[in-house]
Amino acid sequence: MAEPGKTLSPSRALWTQVWQENPIFRQVLGICSALAVTNLVFNTALMCAGLIWATTLSSFTVSLIRNYIPTRIRVMVQVLIISAYVIVVDIVFRAFFFETHKDIAAYVGLIITNCIVLGRLEGFAMKNRPIAAAADGLGAGLGYSLILMSIAFIRELLGFGTLLKNTAWEVRLLTAWEPGVTESWWRNWTIMVVPPGAFFVLAIAVWIARSWSIKQEARAEAETQSAAPDKPEEASA
């Protein structure tokens, strides 16, 4: 988490959110939608686009008026701003992606209560300049999308044998065996289609990403220590 009062440059804020403080595998926020919408790549992509939009613009807006927001009603104002942007997403999806909208409408609405968005507003946008806040929101959205898209890729491939199912770009990579219809060595994994499948994939994704970033941090720490051996040891995030 960015400490209060500490200012970050926009690009620094963005990358911190994408990787070091990734909302899914470091902060473990926004898990509910990660479980629910990730069985099809296209639905996930729309959901991610919606979240990136909502978190970037609400961070920017909140930061813009942060000095005018009364402390006592700040969370209400934040939620109002988030809902406004999320309703925009909902309206646009309904107009242009009607069939996908039917599947993900419930989760799009839930972006309003997605902890990532409110978390970034409270944790960063209320204390930083608009551009840095927008970058921070964008980073959080991209960090979320990075993990969700990987999960969706695995779940759709194993669950349906396809990628981008129900769209014009559908690719069938694995044709499943069906009694009396198709002969194949492949069987679709039903568990990947239903939400519990996401638990397994999410857990494995978090495991891989964490062990990788822990190694990276250990290496970075070793370098700083060898460069400045007299400095007292810093606690890692």
């Binding site: 069985n39 099809l40 008026i65 000095n67 005018y68 927001i69 009364p70 402390t71 006592r72 009603i73 209400m76 104002v77 109002l80 701003i81 406004a84 309703i87 925009v88 309206i91 646009v92 309904r94 107009a95 242009f96 009607f98 069939e99 039917k102 599947d103 669950g159 349906f160 009694p179 219809v181 679709n188 039903t190 289609v193 239903v194």
Partner: protein, 279 residues
């Protein structure tokens, strides 16, 4: 001047201002996008109906082609279709009927002969409500096709009710009155062993791993088939009153071309009365 952002008056004014600004923004966007959203919803319904009647089958249909096929061949049925036994309404052509009123459709080929009717079917699935259309031949004896327009079944399991591979089993299914106490169609269970079996010509394979959804569809489809058969008899589409209605329907079709927009919402009041006289 330094603002006291925590004074009650400021808090009230600020809250009102922020609410007004954002609400106005959303209302504007909503108003601007309303027509596109309605068009998308309409196209989706037209696509489902074109599909259920098997129009343009085998072709890759563009949005425009779907609109054309729909305009040319499909329109809402212009008589009420109600089963008085259960009270289920299949078609409400009245001018006061809202956008959510149940609607049944009739498809005709260019010569004007009726290809079939599509009636709304719905019921509780494994998780939530399922809506769809069942298209039947003009004599209500065989299924042309079925389509599900809304459901919340598990994707990949119960959700497979939307897949053409499963739905194509319904084409040609026998739905003539099955005899007392028997269902019209059999979804799942044992395959009919012989031609004499009551399930012969009425059997559809259930979806593996989705017994709940399959039997739910079986339940509401049988209920709706029985109800729509009674409703069609009452409306005179089949059975004793058929001939009289058929004549009226044909004459209303001849005058239809000039009043397409009216026909889409049902017939004008005077003609509807004329149809009601046949009851």
């Amino acid at each position: 001047m330094k603002l006291n952002v925590n004074s009650p008056r400021y808090v009230l004014v600020f809250a009102a201002l922020v609410s007004t600004v954002f609400t106005a923004g959303i209302m504007t966007l909503h108003a601007v996008s309303e027509s596109t959203a309605t068009a998308s919803a309409q196209l989706y319904e037209q696509k489902s109906l074109v599909e259920v009647f098997k129009l343009g089958a085998g072709e890759q249909l563009s949005d425009r082609k779907i609109g054309d096929l729909y305009e040319r061949s499909i329109r809402q049925l212009d008589m009420a279709l109600v089963d008085s036994q259960t009270g289920k309404v299949f078609n409400n052509p009245g001018p006061s009927a809202g956008p959510l009123a149940p609607r049944a459709f009739v498809a005709t080929n260019p010569g004007g002969t009726i290809i079939g009717y599509a009636v709304p079917v719905s019921g509780i699935g494994f998780w939530s409500r399922i809506d769809g259309y069942l298209a039947v031949t003009p004599d209500f004896s065989k299924v042309i096709g079925i389509v599900f327009t809304r459901h919340q079944e598990t994707p990949g399991l119960g959700g497979r009710i939307t897949e053409p591979k499963w739905r194509k089993q319904f084409a040609g299914l026998d739905i003539t009155p099955p005899g007392a106490g028997r269902p019209s169609v059999y979804i799942g269970g044992d395959k009919p062993a012989s031609d004499n079996s009551p399930a012969h010509g009425r059997y559809v394979d259930a979806i593996t791993g989705a017994t709940g959804t399959s039997s739910a569809v079986n339940r509401f489809l049988n209920r709706d088939i029985d109800a729509v058969r009674r409703a069609a008899e009452e409306a005179g589409l089949i059975g004793k009153k058929k001939q009289k209605q058929q004549d009226l329907l044909q004459s209303s079709q001849r005058t239809r071309r000039g009043e397409r927009d009216i026909a889409n919402r049902g017939l004008p009041a005077n003609r509807r009365q004329a149809l009601n006289l046949g009851h």
